[in-house]
């Protein structure tokens, strides 16, 4: 079985992801990319125009969650156990942030993820991410 991410992502969602304007960007066999367009209402520092890290955490949470479903081959109800974001630099104002999520391992109840965020050049990342999800009903 395969998780049809494009159809899934085409469904209209409410919630925080929708409020931030997060949208599907691209996917391959083992990674998913979501996009976070720049908007002034996400600014964390008014002097620099750099967005707060909350939207980037949300972007990576969503991208890595999708990556888990890709690897599992299906949607699974799960919750973020922990998520760590290391910022190499602030996001450049007015640039769309792309978040790539990868799931590198799934055990019976825990999925292990990593990811990177960039704003145009994957070789110049904004942040690296690592974390875990847990499925109360287990992963298939």
């Amino acid at each position: 079985m395969a998780f049809d991410i494009r159809t899934f992502a085409a469904m209209r969602f409410g919630g925080h992801g929708n409020r931030l304007g997060i949208a599907f960007h691209d996917a391959s066999d083992d990674w998913v990319e979501m996009a976070l367009p720049y908007r002034p209402d996400m600014i964390g520092n008014v002097d620099s125009g750099v967005i707060a890290s909350g939207p980037i955490v949300a972007l990576m949470d969503i991208a890595t969650s999708m990556a888990v479903w890709m690897r599992a081959g299906t949607f699974v109800a799960h919750a973020t156990l922990d998520l760590r974001v290391d910022y190499l630099r602030g996001a450049k104002p007015h640039r769309t942030v792309i978040g790539r999520g990868e799931c590198y391992r799934i055990t019976r109840s825990v999925a292990f993820i990593r990811g990177q965020a960039h704003d145009g050049d994957p070789d110049d990342p904004i942040a690296h991410v690592a974390g875990t999800f847990m499925a109360p009903e287990g992963y298939p």
């Binding site: 409410g14 919630g15 925080h16 992801g17 409020r19 931030l20 002034p40 209402d41 996400m42 600014i43 964390g44 520092n45 008014v46 967005i51 707060a52 890290s53 909350g54 939207p55 980037i56 955490v57 949300a58 972007l59 990576m60 949470d61 969503i62 109800a77 919750a79 973020t80 156990l81 922990d82 998520l83 760590r84 974001v85 290391d86 910022y87 602030g90």
Partner: protein, 136 residues
Amino acid sequence: MTLPPYADLLGATIEGVEDDSPVLIMPFDDSVTGRPGFVQGGAIAGLLEVAAIAALQQALAAEGGGRIKPINVTVDYMRGGRDKPTRTRDRHAARQSRRQCRGGRLAGRARAADRGGTDELSDRARLSAAAPRFAM
């Protein structure tokens, strides 16, 4: 104390002060939900970071201020944030440790709870930030 535009996006405001740190409150709303009925993890992390930075700014203000640049944020999700208002509590607003050449490092910690405060811990975030003002 002014919060950044992102705080408005979350609907977060300063409710009061506790142990010299601002307490923020964020109402439950569709605009902050993740999986149905729960607050989205990024919204919780964002709220915690806004609170931690506000507390650090307050602590630094007494020393003439200083720039804060987040280095990393780690969130341990203890349980899902439910459909109630979420509040933050900050312990140890700023612990300064002088480091060598790259500047000082400030640690802010914030905790979010949604059952009226202190005893029902929902999430915990740790923010490490650089404050170049403290460079040796």
